[in-house]
Symmetry: C2
Subunit: 363 residues, 2 copies
Amino acid sequence: MRTIGLADLDDLCRGAAILGTGGGGDPYIGGLLAADAMRAHGPVTLLSLEETPDDALVIAVGGMGAPTVTIEKIPNGDDYVWALEALERQLGRNADAVIPFEAGGMNSTIPLKVAAERGIPVVDGDGMGRAFPELQMETFNVYGVPAAPMAVVNEWGDSVIIEAHDAKMVEWLARGVTIRMGGHSAIAEYAMDGATARRVAVPGTLGLTVSVGRWIREARETHEDVFDALIKGFADTHYQHARILYSGKLTDVSRRTARGFAVGQARIEGLGAWSGEMLIEFQNENLVAYHDGVLRAIVPDLICILDSETAEAITTERLRYGQRVTVLGVSVPDIMRTSEALDVFGPAAFGLQERFRPIEALT
Amino acid sequence: MRTIGLADLDDLCRGAAILGTGGGGDPYIGGLLAADAMRAHGPVTLLSLEETPDDALVIAVGGMGAPTVTIEKIPNGDDYVWALEALERQLGRNADAVIPFEAGGMNSTIPLKVAAERGIPVVDGDGMGRAFPELQMETFNVYGVPAAPMAVVNEWGDSVIIEAHDAKMVEWLARGVTIRMGGHSAIAEYAMDGATARRVAVPGTLGLTVSVGRWIREARETHEDVFDALIKGFADTHYQHARILYSGKLTDVSRRTARGFAVGQARIEGLGAWSGEMLIEFQNENLVAYHDGVLRAIVPDLICILDSETAEAITTERLRYGQRVTVLGVSVPDIMRTSEALDVFGPAAFGLQERFRPIEALT
């Protein structure tokens, strides 16, 4: 058992942007909300999945909607607590702990804010092991936890409780409500007991997110190579295989908004030792990377476009001509690579023709 | 206490089309659903507001969405019962009676179907006294009954419970969910006790709807003038002042779909004794009628465009060049003409500049 406090938040946000693989939203606003709650209520206890009691009621909380919206329509902050309360009322029982449903972006920090306010722990794990654009793309769903009942709440406390026959319909209805709520909502979903969480969650991802941010910061402070530090750091975790896929200059970005997503591709021209071109296709998150037509990494493995100088993540909407970027590929844990998992968030779920191949088999 | 049975349904549907004032959807499919339920379970008890016990739990049920959708996407029928059950689960109590929220169109018949299946009575009254396009336009809302919690259910039994701070937000969220459910949903809303229903409902509208249909049928059978029969019939009710506003040939209909509504205007050229032109503006329902620029009737009073031969109502989407039509205006009961009521469903609520003037003051 450990805690996450104010001093960890900068590392957490930096790491969350990287696990966001281009999506998940800017962790900055979520970080502010968590910092505010921690200043008032102190640090938050982080429970490993092993430490979470079998019968503890664990509820996933976070934000839903277009990340860009939260920059102009700042969440009031209470809405995330209200979402939890709305689901608790529905269940007739209070949560013993919250869990992120997503590792990466804003949804890494929001559970910390809710936990601090409520004085309950956060479980160290999540339902995506990275960022994904839709709510059915969760290991919670893959391994049989019902998404419903789900609470969707706006900044005035208006709430909607969704009961639906599968996670895709829950996502579909919740997305419609979120659009009507102005493009962003606070949600609580996938209520489960601790024993179930241990079976279905991607373990350790909140602690990992803090570590990723710390590796970058410490490497900068000691003038080590930041990318070497990331590769060494990941090697000791269940996100074992990290490697530089490419490095160069962004020469072209085509991006359009389709079905509420930022869809498009980025082209990078090699610099230094890197010849040819890398093509990355994205739908909010980066989905697939080719080097001169050869597959180098594919979803759900992580494809992170990082600033070549600072190793800060560049989100899809901030990609621009001329940026010097280094593309880091990272393998995801086995729980995210089973055939059941790939059915839900593998290449085919994004309309890609390529089949999944592990990044470590693609060198 | 009386009953509504199979033998009343044709009259009810004919009358419901007239109270729909151009909107509310075709009562035909709702009539089939009610007939089916009555064949299996017998006639339905109709409780007057006076007969409804003070502490009876009364819940409004019906359909939401574009009427045109129900013609291609037939409701499975069970969905309306499921909507009631979803709200009952939320309230922790079963309904003692159902009530229509709308008089006119499909929503006059659906409560009969639900009541027959559940073996409970229908309260003779409703929340609109006619058809209106949005759910906040109900006397239930005008006189202080909360619209929430509200249940919205689709044909697979997926359900959404909405809690919101006012009826307009309930409408806004429910409309979004209904769109995601394919354009039509089954809803249950405005749970209240019998004493409250007596205070806030437009009384007697279900019985009236059957009577309107009967007046037309009997006049046809006895070769009386159908319009005289309607005017005489209404005179003995709280919809007291009925009159022919105009009669002629439809010369122009302009209709566009805006914000999910059929918005536009119809022009009628006088025939026989009628000179000049009548202009009728509509938003699903007919809103205002001018004869050569002079106001003749305005919402919430009823403006019904009827076939000049048969007195059958012609809905907005079926208006066509060349039709011979007679426009009937009917005054609505006092409960629908208070300043609170006009704030919610008077001319300004539809963006009209004209102020409300009672039809009986406009001759």
